[in-house]
Symmetry: C2
Subunit: 409 residues, 2 copies
Amino acid sequence: MQGISARATELDRGDPLASFRDRFTLAEGLLYLDGNSLGRLPKETIRRIRQVVEHEWASELVLGWDHWLDTGLRIGDSLAPLIGANPGEVAVCDQTSINLYKLASAAMDATGRPNIVTDAGNFPSDRYVLASVAERSGGELILAPEDGTVSDLAPLINDTTALVSLSHVSYRSGTLADGAAITQLAHDGGAMMLWDLAHSAGSVPVHLSAWDADMAVGCTYKYLNAGPGAPGFLYVRRDLHDTLTQPITGWFGHRDQFGFTASWQPAPDIRRFLVGTPPIVSMVGVEVGVAISAEAGIDEIRRKSIELTSLFIEGVAPLAEHGVEIVTPMEGARRGSHVTLRHADGVQITAALRSAGVIPDFRAPDLIRFGFAPLYTSYQEVARAVGILTELIETGSYRSFDERRGRVT
Amino acid sequence: MQGISARATELDRGDPLASFRDRFTLAEGLLYLDGNSLGRLPKETIRRIRQVVEHEWASELVLGWDHWLDTGLRIGDSLAPLIGANPGEVAVCDQTSINLYKLASAAMDATGRPNIVTDAGNFPSDRYVLASVAERSGGELILAPEDGTVSDLAPLINDTTALVSLSHVSYRSGTLADGAAITQLAHDGGAMMLWDLAHSAGSVPVHLSAWDADMAVGCTYKYLNAGPGAPGFLYVRRDLHDTLTQPITGWFGHRDQFGFTASWQPAPDIRRFLVGTPPIVSMVGVEVGVAISAEAGIDEIRRKSIELTSLFIEGVAPLAEHGVEIVTPMEGARRGSHVTLRHADGVQITAALRSAGVIPDFRAPDLIRFGFAPLYTSYQEVARAVGILTELIETGSYRSFDERRGRVT
C-alpha cells in the first residue's frame, strides 16, 4: 500500500493532464469514481448555462434560434475527432436509446434482412431496443456470449443478418471490443455495423472512419461530462447519408425544415437523422464537455486512463484471497476506463464504500464498478480508494452494511 | 386607437393575473408576442437551474438520481390538471415528434388497422411523423381539409382508420378544435384519438378525461415557458396502460428498470411510454413553468387569453381595407391564444415589426402570428402593438423591408 501511495504521488506530479482537474467543480468529501455513470460539472458549464438561460433565453427569446438551431451539428463536429469521424458525420440529439432505435431501424430498411446480432452483455436498453427493432422486421435478436470476440460472433452472422450492434466498451466488464475486426466481420457477412460508444466517447480513442463503421451512437454524460441526462449523439458514415432513412420523420430531418411542404423529404446530410427541437439548456453542457475533452486530446486521455486503471488493478490484486475477482481484462489495451470487481458481498461492500465517501457503482448481482476519468481523477485518489477498499475487506467491516440501490449508468 | 389604449389601461388595472408578469424576466425593448413559439424565462427557473447545476450535479453527482429519476412523472402529475388528466396519466419526456411517433405506433399495433386521419393544416412535423407511421403499417395518412370540423372528418373515418390525430389549436389559424365531438367521432368509427396540445397546454383548458381521449402529446416551451427545446409530454388514458405498447423499448419503460432482465417487459403504468435518461437541466424549466401555470389556474388564463385576443382583433379589424385578413376565428370560444393575420406583404410587415421591436412570427407564405401569453402579456402591450402595426400599414412604410427568416414554433 505504501508503495502505491508513493507512486501515485509521483504519477500525479508528472501528469500532463493534472491541470484539467481544476476545470471541474470537486465535491467536498467525495472520492468520486463513478464518472463512467455521471461525469463531473465543468466550471465553464456554470458560466455557459447562466449565459444561455439568463441572457440568451431571457433577452433574445425566439430570436435565439438564429444561433441555437444548429447546436447539435456544431457540437457533432467538435466531437468527431474524438471518435475518428469526419465533420458532418456526427450530430448531438435525443437520448441514446432513441438514436439506437432510429439507426437500427434504418439498417433493417436498407438491408431488407430480418435479424440483428448483439452480445448477451450489451447494455439492457440496447438489447431491448434492438430486439424490438428486429421483431418489427419479422426477425429476432441473436445473442453472442458476453464480451463476444470475432470467433464468438462469426458463426452467428449470415445472410439473415441486417445488423451487428455492440458496445465498444462493455458497461459490465469494461472489456474493449476489437472495432476494426468486428466491423470487418459484419461487412464480410453483408451486414451493417452499429457501435454503441457510451463508455468509450471521451475515454478511449475510437476510429469509426478507419474501421469503416456504418453507424454509431453514444452518450455524453459519462466521460464527456455533459450533465445528467444530456442528449446523446449519433454517427452515420457520409456515403450512407443518401440511402439510409430513419422512421421518426420529424421536421428537423427535413430537407427544407421551414418550407412546410406536403411530405417529408430527407435532408441530404446528417440532418436526416434528427427529429425535433433540441433541449438547448442541456445541450450547453454537451458543448462544453466535448470541448474540454477535445482540448485534452483523446490519446493523452487514453494514456492516463490505462495508467489509472493499471494502478488500481495492481492495488486490488492482493484482495483475490478475500474473494475479490477482477472481471476487467488485465491487459490495458483490452479495457476501457472502468474496472469491475466481482465479490459475493458486492452489495454490502458498495454500501460500505459509499459510507466512507468512496463512490463506485454496483451492478446486480455482484459487480462493483470503479470508473477513472482521466480529466479529473488523480492517482492519489486511486491509491486512497485502494486503501479504503482493502481496509474494509481485510477487516470484514463492510459486513454491517446491506443497503442496495440501483444506479443510472 | 385612443379608445383601445384607454381600455387597455383599464383592463390591466383590473387584471387578476397582473402580478404574474413579475414572475418573468422581461426583455428590455422587446414587445414580445411570440410566446406561442418560445415562452419567457421565469425568474424562479434561474434560481432552480443554478440549484440543480451548481449544487445538485456538482455535489451530489450520481447520487442525484435518487431524486432526479422520477422527474418526468412528477412534472406530469403537476401538468395533469391543466389538461384535464388524472395523476399517473401524464409524463414529461422526449420531444413532441418522438412522443407522437411512440403513441401513434402504439395505436397502429393496438387496432391492427392501417390508416391515420389528420388535417392538412396540422403542424408539418406531425403530418410527416404520422405519414411515416401509417406507411410502416402498410397504410396511409388521410388528410381532411385544414381546420377540419366533425362534418369534414366524418366521411374519412371508417374501418381502416386506426387513429385520428389532430392539433387541438391550429398552429396556423389558431382555430380551436371541438375536442369532445371529434374524439367521439373517432371512437364511433372504432379509431383511437390522439391530440396534439402544443398550442393549448397552458393557454386553453383541455379536458382529456371528459372527452375520453385515448392519447395526447404536447410541448412545454410555448405557453408553459419551459425554455428552448425543453422536453415535451405525453398522455395515455389509464385503462390503456395495460394494452398499449410503444416500439422504442428503452430501459426507462421497463417494469424493473434496474433489474436488467433478459427481455423488455413494459411497466404497468405510464412509465412504459418512457425510453431513456431525461435531460435533467432542461427538465427543470418544465417543472417551474408548469407550476406557475398551475398556480395561476387554466380558467383564469383562458379568460384573459380571450380578452387579449379580442382586444387585438378589435384593434386590427380596421386594417381590412389595407388587405389585412384576420384568419383566426372571431368568436373567442373558437380560438386559442394567438391571432393570425394574412397579408400579401406578410414578409415585409413582419420584418418591419421586428425592426420596431415588435416580435410576432411569420409562417410562409403570408401568415403573421401574434401570440398572447396571459401570464405576462399586458393589455397595454396589445394596444401598443396594434398602434405600431396600424402605423406601418397605413403609411406603407413597411415596404422598405424584405428580410425573411424561418422561425421555430
